[in-house]
Symmetry: C2
Subunit: 254 residues, 2 copies
DNA sequence: TCTTGCTTCTAACGTTACGTTAGCTTTTAA
DNA sequence: TTAAAAGCTAACGTAACGTTAGAAGCAAGA
């Protein structure tokens, strides 16, 4: 009545490879019901049911070791385990969603700008990647509401912002080293701050505070990477300084 | 100007472990800018930028080998690659969604039924898992519309159906071996067919056809696993046969 | 009965991206 | 000068098999 299948037949019937059956035998996960004197494995209908359990649990994302536990030591709170497993899967999906979102941003930028300086590009990916950590860090120094407000842009706004940023950074890198006081360099920096103001009206005060408090961004370089080399950074500092002084004069002059 | 960091400092600044830096050096992914006579590695700001690229691409799901290609052979269609990567991620997410859906069904069943015969449970998981393949197989023998109709239940309906099925299977297994013509056994089988009719009004004709055509379900056991042992299967066949004959008499008698 | 071809066996390495010792050398601080 | 800290290489471990390689068993035809 109960048939015996050679490993090849069993493999065909179940869709599981011979190698996998060998492996499951080796780790005591699924033992064939009978082994011939010459060492050949023969599987039964009962084995089919066992294998179905294994395949099902594997599909649900359990590692073989857990499955082994379940099958052998028969004290398992299945319900609790399934709930736990669901949480794990939800987390995985959330992570993948973040990656897809980043890819969307990246693709949007490429469509907008054509080709892109790869260093700038990677910096942006990095920023999107570390958004949450950046937020937490900023909350140490600024009111939480302000921080949330900065990051509280819609996907579309964020895409636009990133795209424009990339564009500006690209141009800035193009003129790096030139006279910091020159017309077109200052124009670029002006655009940059204009963009910042658009996103967050309190941008100027925020920069001011950063300077006043002498907050050591340098110690957290990995959180706020820039696409600029150290030389370029120094040059940029000069540009900004000049812009800053000039701006204040302007403001006062009004 | 351009600083040199010891591997420890570099690791702290970037958040990447020393071991990983060793590894990246080993596979020529990230070479330190300078190596002392005694063999110690020193990293530069330039290395930081390179590392940022690596980390970013890793975040986007690229394997190190692809990243290596990108960094060294500088002919990469970034846009196309990103699009491809997005497709990959979408697939992964779809797979995870299927698993989550299955877990939801399983949890729903547990809440409805309390504890469950694990064999029945696994069979159901297996069925949900192989839904699409089952559909394709059935389409070989039946009009596509009918097949689609059967599988075209809402999530909620499907949950209910599965839950009831589990309940019935459980009861059937409980009375397996008893007189196939007895009242309560026949009542269970009646419930079973009632359930089938509810889902798909043409269920009787479908079964009839299956019998007439002598379709070899046996060759595809892995597609349609049942929670019954061979003995139980045989007993079930008797029960169904009796029910079938009785039903026809009934129908004729009306 | 022998041979041929198919199936199965064990053993062992390869895969990915590092984590984790272990044992030894170099650098740094007291 | 010496002890502690940091760094080095080498090697194994991980998860779940895929992929040879070489030997042996098994069924069928000559």
């Amino acid at each position: 009545m109960s048939k015996q299948y050679s490993i090849g037949d069993f493999a065909k019937k179940t869709g599981i490879t011979i190698r996998t059956l060998h492996y499951y035998d080796e780790i005591d996960l699924l033992k064939p019901s009978f082994i011939s004197v010459s060492g050949r494995r023969y599987y039964s209908d009962d084995n089919m049911i066992q294998l179905q359990k294994i395949v099902s649990l594997k599909y649900l994302g359990y590692p073989l070791e857990k499955i082994h536990e379940y099958i052998h030591l028969h004290d398992w709170d299945l319900q609790e385990s399934l709930q736990f497993q669901k949480q794990e899967m939800l987390q995985k999906r959330a992570q993948i969603d973040r990656v897809i979102r980043t890819l969307d941003h990246a693709l949007f930028m490429m469509e907008e700008q054509g080709s892109i300086n790869s260093t700038i590009f990677m910096t942006l990916i990095h920023n999107i990647h570390n958004e949450d950590e950046q937020k937490e860090w900023l909350k140490n120094y600024f009111p939480k509401d302000s921080v949330e407000q900065i990051y509280n842009l819609s996907e579309e706004e964020l895409k636009e912002l990133n795209s424009k940023m990339v564009h500006l950074f690209d141009k800035l890198k193009g003129v790096a080293g030139q006279d910091p006081t020159s017309q077109h360099v200052q124009a670029l920096i002006h655009d940059y701050f204009a963009l910042a103001l658009e996103v967050y009206p309190g941008a100027f005060e925020l920069v001011q505070e950063l300077q006043d408090q002498e907050i050591e961004i340098e110690d957290n370089l990995e959180l706020f990477p820039t696409p600029f080399s150290p030389d370029e950074e120094e040059w940029l500092a000069h540009v900004i300084q000049y812009y800053w002084e000039h701006r204040e004069v302007d403001s006062n002059g009004e």
